[in-house]
Symmetry: C2
Amino acid sequence: MFKRAKQSRVFQDVVDQIQDAVLNGKLVPGTKLPPERELKDIFNTSRGTLREALRVLEQKGLIEIKLGVSGGAIVKRIDAEPVVESLALLIRSGGVSLEHLAEFRIKIEGSLVELAAARATKKDIKELEALFNQAKVYYEKNDWENFLKTDEKVHTFIGTMTRNPVFQFVQKTIHDNIHRYYAEYLPMNKERTLENLTDFEKIIDAMKVNDAKTASAIIMDHVKRFSDKMQEKINGNSK
Amino acid sequence: MFKRAKQSRVFQDVVDQIQDAVLNGKLVPGTKLPPERELKDIFNTSRGTLREALRVLEQKGLIEIKLGVSGGAIVKRIDAEPVVESLALLIRSGGVSLEHLAEFRIKIEGSLVELAAARATKKDIKELEALFNQAKVYYEKNDWENFLKTDEKVHTFIGTMTRNPVFQFVQKTIHDNIHRYYAEYLPMNKERTLENLTDFEKIIDAMKVNDAKTASAIIMDHVKRFSDKMQEKINGNSK
DNA sequence: AATATCGAATGGTTTAACCATTAGCATAGT
DNA sequence: ACTATGCTAATGGTTAAACCATTCGATATT
């Protein structure tokens, strides 16, 4: 009938109060909180306890702390970083394998490109073409590192084209976490890079006429092909 | 060229050491860390600083802290909770609207059901049928609250059927966050509940023969229909 | 005017003490 | 013998006061 009375931890109360203030818009990003020695009086707590609260808020990505005079806790604009980080932890702890990630990525990136293609503006296409030309230069110079970086930018940019922040941060999270495997298991060469570049060109063509289905099919095939290659590589190495 | 040398914060070093130990398997879930008063000596720090480190580790979901004698910090099995929580924060902070969520959900749940249907075992089907019968009872008793809870269980269970933890936690996160809107904007009635039940039956039928495409199409239509209704309701109310 | 120096504000850390919760044990009462 | 009560010690939670380290701006010096 009754719930166990939650044992209050003072720092948790402080965390909740500040978090609520941020979520209610009472504390807007950029606001500087009072110095610790004042905050501790406001919340009627000790500095140690207050600092535990600040650590939690910092970890949640709600505040950022600067040193020195005129330093202090500043309310941050909430971004996807804590999500990315905690997912990375989950992955690294072994709860998620490369296969799991790749399987998810194939599905999600197909849908994502479909949306992006449907909503592509002329400005988007121009931006994509600029990235394509950049990638082409790196391809010709055999500069794999910068090629990959540009490839990364392309994926991120297509994410923004969806105009949907959920897709955007999922895209970012997946790529942040999958990149580690790529660098380790899928060394680039001229042939593979060209393949990548060709797929890219096809997608831009499909997007130019807002052909969502085609664009989606190409990216799904692209992701699947690269994932399979990486999987082969891993299986091969482990034998 | 160089990065600014990160100003060392002692508690961060403690966090890193313990986190690394967990990720390297040197500390397995269930292990109890020494009491604070010993840990502070081990790391050669003060108790306050050590506790700041523990707060961060707790927030990351790496440890859990129990009170009283034989209490202390216990290494946890890392789960999706921190990911779900930080994503919820991102959503609640206003970066994500219901439309964004619904759009994402339509796509992801289609793919998810497709996978689940392809991998459905007889045991899975039995479990789904049990949930279906339970939902039917609540439908007949006009018990909307429990009907919705069961509906929630169905979605979660279909998530587990994918055998892919990424899909599982995305499904959980989306539903955790969308549920708030549902309860507020989409009051259930006999007609709507029946519609829900009918869709559910169709999906089970498709899954019985591992017809992934059909199952996927049904759920996408289902989610889209309910999202549209909710959207209407919201637009109507706000006018 | 440019540069060097210093001081104050502010986060980072330490220490030592006390409070609150809990598990286990000892004791008393039946 | 068994149960219930209460005591004790271990452990996390909190407080307080002091000092260190970093940074910015004011002031002095050249």
